[in-house]
Symmetry: none
Subunit: 677 residues, 2 copies
């Protein structure tokens, strides 16, 4: 017999979605099971603070729920820590920490992630001066008159031309069916939205009766894994809401190339992939406008960035040409399109600006990241790297800018690694190896303490150690190298088995065991090879661009994307993933592509800036460069066979080169990898 209820009803606002959950379920899990979007980037560790919610207290007759803040379990240690450090408002809870005890009505505040993003993302703090393609003009127009029987929309157009001086103003024909009712309802006083941008005529695209205060734009980064969207006020340039969702195309293929193959095998299914991404964007828009109490019809402009395959699939273009040389894009230049032609559920007159693609493997996302970091505006030489399964590389300064891509493969995302997994609770994300004892200690996503700290043992039980994520594998290989467990050629040194039982024979090669309670987590020789191939490809691409630029000096390295934000620059450099540079010059820049999309949305000057930059940028096709292979072979070594890494050596003591004669380092394995999305 139990006296406390085993289940509780939870209603999420503003969506109104509801469900019944076992007592003890974390609120975040409940939200996700209902498809209610709550942002969380720390893997539910109570760190990022994006999953904030409030409890609406009282009796909700319609919902048949009596909701109380006490129906959530008290704050966990992590939540208390967050509240102390970041000043969590009293009525707020972290939904990843708060467990359901009884019936609840939960509200997801709109400001949580937005406010927080300013703190977290450097680019978010960047104030974008608004000069969007949309301007609002309020006019009064003459009533119709039998003496001068001009059409209602023509008199409206005349009034707008008089008010704006735009003699070549046209109107979107989508306005025709509704214009008469609108003008009469408005008593002939309306606010008009006019779209003006290069390559289009100034166009009246939307109308409201009377005064219209706020109109919005949408900036979207379509990644192969995640779609991130920002809603921005087009007049003051502020980002008012952000949201992300998985790219539903993932069911057609996990990486880009598998999606291209899917379309190649099933050409009739192309519309399904296009529809999937457009529907996901439409769902995000619903959430974003709901967050701020706006309407879809308040969204008048949108910018989209993505890699070339995402860009083409979004536009309904078969990406098959991108699957093989010469990797021909159907369209590369920036485009102004009409949102309804793309089935986007915004204002019927809304426009879309597609940022330009740089090359067949260097997409509009790289262009947007370039816009965000603007290496072309600086004297300093910047290397901008967006590490995905394809690394997109931009190098240069205001005098000259080069771009290339390099096929790194998915190893950096934890794929092709024996114990690899995506960054999620249970994944080892950081690791240190004692040079004397050769014992590892590590940090797991979901547990604050390192594995050798007090409290870890108790807490790890609820999370488990399930694998090793991208940043973990980087640190593991680098630390093994620093500890002398692997040679500069990347071979696990079997001789070290004499010093530690963690080095174990695996037939012709050896492994290093990190954890063995429950799941056995080891670094195998093949794991190190996968990392070497990936970092070798990336480094070789960078080196090629440095050859072209004629200098190996670097002032700044900017690591974009999720992976770039979470890896430790020092370990990336020890591994030789990035070239030598002052460590202070290396920073993660988060979702730089999304920032670039917002810049292009909010200010047309940035559109012209990136269009000109993409025209000027020198595109290097690494596959065509004879030196790529040589750079690649050198870059297989840790950190590099040819390059000396003076900045790194002044900061970190690297082991003396120790030659091995293992056949594993033979050139047979140094093959060019096939391109992966």
């Amino acid at each position: 017999m139990t006296e406390t209820p085993q289940n509780a009803k939870v209603v999420f606002q503003p969506s109104g979605r509801r469900g019944t959950f076992p007592v003890g379920t974390p609120l975040l899990d409940a939200a996700r099971s209902l498809g209610v979007y709550v942002e969380s980037v720390c893997g539910g560790r109570g760190i990022c603070g994006r999953c904030q919610v409030t409890v609406s207290e009282g009796q909700f007759a319609k919902e048949n729920v009596i909701s109380s803040a006490e129906h959530l379990e008290g704050a966990t240690e992590a939540e208390t820590r967050y509240a102390t450090l970041r000043k969590l408002p009293e009525d707020r809870r972290l939904s990843c920490q708060a467990k359901i005890l009884g019936d609840l009505v939960v509200d997801i505040p709109t400001d949580a992630q937005t406010n927080r993003q300013v703190v977290r993302k450097r680019a978010e703090a960047k104030q974008i001066e608004a000069d969007s393609a949309i301007s609002l003009v309020s006019v009064s127009i003459d009533e119709p008159d039998m003496e001068t029987p001009r059409g209602d929309i023509d008199r409206l157009r005349d009034a707008l031309i008089a008010a704006t001086g735009l003699a070549d103003l046209v109107f979107d024909p989508a306005l025709l069916p509704g214009v008469q009712v609108m003008l009469r309802k408005a008593n002939w006083n309306v606010t008009a939205a006019i779209h003006q941008d290069l390559g289009t005529l100034p166009t009246l695209i939307a109308l409201w009766p009377g005064e219209k205060k706020a109109v919005y734009g949408l900036a979207v980064d379509i990644g192969s894994t995640t779609i991130a969207a920002h809603l921005c006020n087009l007049q003051n340039g502020r980002t008012v809401s952000s949201a992300g969702t998985s790219n539903p195309q993932i069911r057609f293929g996990e990486d880009l190339m598998s999606r291209v193959s899917y379309v190649q095998m099933n050409p009739a299914k192309l519309p399904d992939l296009t529809k999937a991404v457009r529907e996901a964007v439409n769902a995000l828009v619903g959430k974003l406008v709901g967050d701020v109490g706006a309407d879809r019809s308040d969204v008048l402009d949108a910018t989209f960035v993505g890699n070339p395959v995402m860009h083409h699939l979004f536009l309904g273009i078969d990406p098959v040409e991108l699957g093989g040389a010469p990797f021909a894009l159907a369209a590369s230049d920036a485009m102004n399109l009409v949102a309804r032609d793309l089935d986007l559920e915004l204002n019927p007159g809304a426009r879309v600006y597609m940022l330009p693609c740089i090359a067949g493997h260097v997409g509009a996302d790289a262009a947007a990241a370039t816009l965000s970091e603007s290496p072309y505006s600086h004297d300093e030489i910047t290397l901008l790297v967006d590490v995905g399964t394809n690394a997109e590389i931009v190098l240069g300064n205001k005098d000259r800018l080069l771009a290339a891509s390099s096929p790194t493969g998915p190893a950096f995302e934890g794929a092709e690694i024996s114990s690899g997994q995506r960054a999620a609770p249970g994944a080892i994300e950081r690791i240190r190896i004692d040079k004397e004892t050769l014992e590892p200690r590590f940090k797991v996503i979901g547990v604050d303490e390192w594995s050798d700290e007090e409290g870890f043992a108790e807490k790890i039980d609820s999370v488990g150690v399930t694998g090793i994520c991208g940043s973990g594998i980087i640190e593991a290989v680098a630390e093994m190298f620093l500890a002398g467990l692997i040679t500069e050629d990347g071979v696990i040194n079997g001789n070290m088995a004499a010093r530690t039982t963690r080095i174990r024979s695996q037939g012709r090669t050896f492994s290093y065991s990190i954890a063995e309670d429950g799941v056995e987590i080891s670094i195998l020789q093949t794991d190190i090879r996968a990392i070497q191939l990936a970092k070798g490809a990336l480094y070789a691409g960078v080196k090629l661009l440095q050859d072209k630029l004629g200098t190996y000096h670097l002032d700044r390295i900017r690591l974009a994307g999720a992976f770039g934000s979470y890896i430790d620059p020092k370990y990336a450099m020890i591994l030789g993933l990035i070239p030598d540079c002052s460590l202070e010059g290396v920073t993660g820049v988060g979702n730089a592509a999304g920032t670039g999309a917002r810049m292009a949305l909010l200010n047309r000057g940035y559109r012209r800036e990136i269009e000109q930059t993409v025209r000027d940028i020198e595109k290097i096709e690494t596959a065509l460069e004879p030196k790529f292979q040589e750079h690649f072979v050198n870059a297989m070594a840790l950190p590099n066979k040819a390059d000396s890494f003076p900045h790194l050596r002044s900061a970190v003591e690297l082991p003396e080169p120790l030659q091995t004669s293992s056949p594993e380092t033979g050139t047979g394995e140094r093959r060019r990898r096939r391109r992966r999305g």
Copy 2:
């Protein structure tokens, strides 16, 4: 106790509408009570033959009906006569004659009304110099290249800009999904169609591999009764095929105002009216391209004209504002639109040019007729009249041009006339009355001989004399006036009964009998009144414009439209339908609106010409003019109470005025008629 059922179930196909009706109900009445459109113009007299139906025999389980042809009463005398004269197929019945005896499933064949109609709209022979909005450019483009990874369509655009000098060339995004396959199939040699017109950017709209020879345009005149379309070669300006069809909107209302009312009562049905006309256009296009062995995708541009209600319904705009003062148009100016946005099945990139409307009752059809006749280019003063149920009037010369409409009603089309019918075989179209014997002789559509000529008697049997059409009624009234059978006030002179038995008493008024073999065809006093009201309204509108212009001198009168082409100018003038003018100056100009549509299709100079003309033209709203009523009252007389018609009098001997005091000429009847479509 009754043995025969008192009610019967009737199902109409293809609509599936069904109802239960008392035995003895004429099938046509049953159809109408269910809102099933069955055409009929003879007033249910079994003459026009348009109301044909077939009975589907058998057991209809779904409908729970056993249908048999025997469930219709046998043929009436009228139906037997029609069947003999016009060869009614065996399975066909005239629904106005056939009475319901039992359960029925009735099918309304689609060919009945269309075949029967004399589509009098045809392309005129006028040679139009081609300078269309479409130009063809053949280019070779560079193959894609990894060194310069520009999009395929962007390289194509560059090549076209180089070939044409059109720096601001854009492309239709509809080309994107197919461009890569097209370019490869074409081995990089393509012909591009570029659209250039005012108010749009030059746009690449279509592509073909290799050379493309012939591309076409479509010129369409959407009349309320008939849609006429011409297919023209855009390069040499030749009209290669023409076709016409009934406007299927007729089932929503026979005239314009009844369609406006229909939409007002059933706003949700607006899309049905729009869809009906667009589908009819698409069907015509299929026929036209089939005629010349072309494909729909060869059609790249289209022009449309129509009265304001047709114009709005075609564009999907609710015409309700056109139903009452101030008759506000949603849009009046010329427009460049995209054909696919109007659901037109042409090339996916095809464009549409809508000619401008002049005023709420003076449509793009009047603008096109004005373009065709170009009174604004001449010193001579021209009166251009398009007589429909609304007369559209344009008056002036190169110094000044005025336009108005006048609500003539449908009398000129044979409606509201007791023996009236549309122009079709069997209709009396010409008539002469001997001034001595007062005997009529006449000509019937479908028989070459006059009724008093040899051979008429034999031939008329196959056609019959079924009614009197618009041109016939004009001549009948005018000839009655010349023969002294009616006074200048339009009263049938009962005293003439002493001289001919054809003048017969009809209670307080009299009638004149024209034919009485089979169907009795007479002119009643009410018929003359209907004609007087119609011609009075038209003349008053013209007179008002003459007042405004400040001169009553006329060099040319141009009668446009089907009616204008078939009436004899002399009789029109005797009736006082048109003002006095040298008879040689009066000509019918056929489907001038269609000609104007073709001109605007084939030469952009004409687009600018009519846009400027419509801007400059002075629009007179007759309803606002105090003198309209005075002109109208004077114009009720034959030919006119106030105006002397010197040119007419020098050519024709008019009877001396003969005053009557009949109360029928009282002003009560001279009321302003409500506008009719």
